[in-house]
Point group: C2
Chain length 229, copies 2
């Protein structure tokens, strides 16, 4: 599976969360990192090039800061121009049909505010319906959105947990079994070990797999005992 | 009541519906027409000027083509920069609190597709929640959105009906009585008569008022008869 990670952020250098996530996926051959502001500083998008890039990938991800409950100006320009009539819609041919589409959003407000009665009034599922409707129109499979709430207030362990979920969003097959997840995680760790000096993260992740294994083993023992009685 | 009509359209000259609506509100002193692409062709927004303009108006309207279920790139840039920290949010002072906020959207697809089971999957109320959440955050009163579906397929009479609703969205006080509505409409017509040569529209609108009066008179007669029995 090949993933196209379309990042849009007006000031990405200043964003600690964006840098943290991006550093973790450098040198991954199955992920194409595609930062719009870097590629098109004057906002003139190469529509044909973008359309060809989309065709070559199986999973398309938008990554952006969730300002005013929506994407960035350049991401919207990209949507309007690249997914235009004749490519995105208005034709029987749907070049993106069957591909997966997902959102990764950096959010400054706490998760609990995104609900009825909360300060932000609506849930993330409600506020991202314009993107879900877009995936629907394009015939794409819509993935669960991945919102990262208040990255800067996170403890180190929570950051690492979030990083694992980030990798899953980018590279893990949809709805795979628990056993395959474990396999996937080990594969990811091996890849990361080759390209990084951040051994802390890897050690942490391996411990997590170990923990999960222990839990599953315990569960098995309980089941075995139940059937022996 | 003073209304600020913030229009954003990448190619407004080519949009027949935008031109039709704009022509109808020329020379109205209580509406400030504010076309972003015209004012800021290079996308560099004068944030302080915009914030001062907002403060001077009672009703703020965004008018835009509803591409990909959202606003335009420049409108999003305007939101992110003008409604930034310290003005829009992040401060106890809410300079826009109590003002009204509404949406006017030109939509190319038929209204019936905007529902569960329809091609667009969601309703306009669902898809515009990011704007509703913005109004909520700013402490503004959210008006019913005004979507204009498939303007170009409309018959002349339907276009004129839509135009009256457009004027209402821009200048009619919220939740006023039927009698006041009639008064409002007559006032609008008088204003328009002074500044336009489109007498057809005015004649049509006057006929509409007359029709409504007839209906109300009929209703009164029925009620009177009921109480006489």
């Amino acid at each position: 599976m090949r993933t196209l990670l379309i990042i849009s952020h007006p000031e990405i250098i200043e964003s600690g969360s964006q840098q943290y996530f991006l550093n973790s996926i450098k040198n991954q051959t199955d992920i194409t990192i595609h930062h719009l502001e870097h590629l098109y500083p004057d906002g003139r998008i190469d529509v044909v090039k973008e359309q060809n890039l989309l065709k070559k990938h199986d999973r398309i991800i938008f990554q952006f800061p969730f300002y005013w409950y929506s994407g960035t100006p350049l991401l919207k320009k990209w949507q309007d121009e690249v997914l235009g009539e004749g490519f995105g819609y208005g034709t029987r041919r749907k070049p993106l049909a069957g591909k997966e589409f997902g959102l990764i959003m950096m959010i400054g407000v706490a998760e609990r505010e995104y609900q009825a009665g909360g300060e932000e009034l609506f849930t993330i599922s409600e506020l991202t319906k314009p993107f879900q409707a877009m995936a629907n129109k394009l015939g794409m499979v819509y993935l669960r959105p991945f919102p990262v709430f208040q990255f800067f207030y996170m403890e180190e362990e929570e950051k690492k947990n979030t990083l694992i979920k980030y990798w899953q969003m980018l590279t893990m097959e949809k709805d795979i079994s628990l056993a395959t997840r474990e396999e996937w995680l080990i594969k990811q760790l091996q890849k990361t070990a080759e390209s990084t000096t951040e051994t802390n993260t890897i050690t942490f992740a391996i411990e997590r797999i170990q923990e999960n294994r222990d839990k599953i083993d315990e569960l098995k023992m309980v089941l075995d005992e139940m059937f022996l009685e």
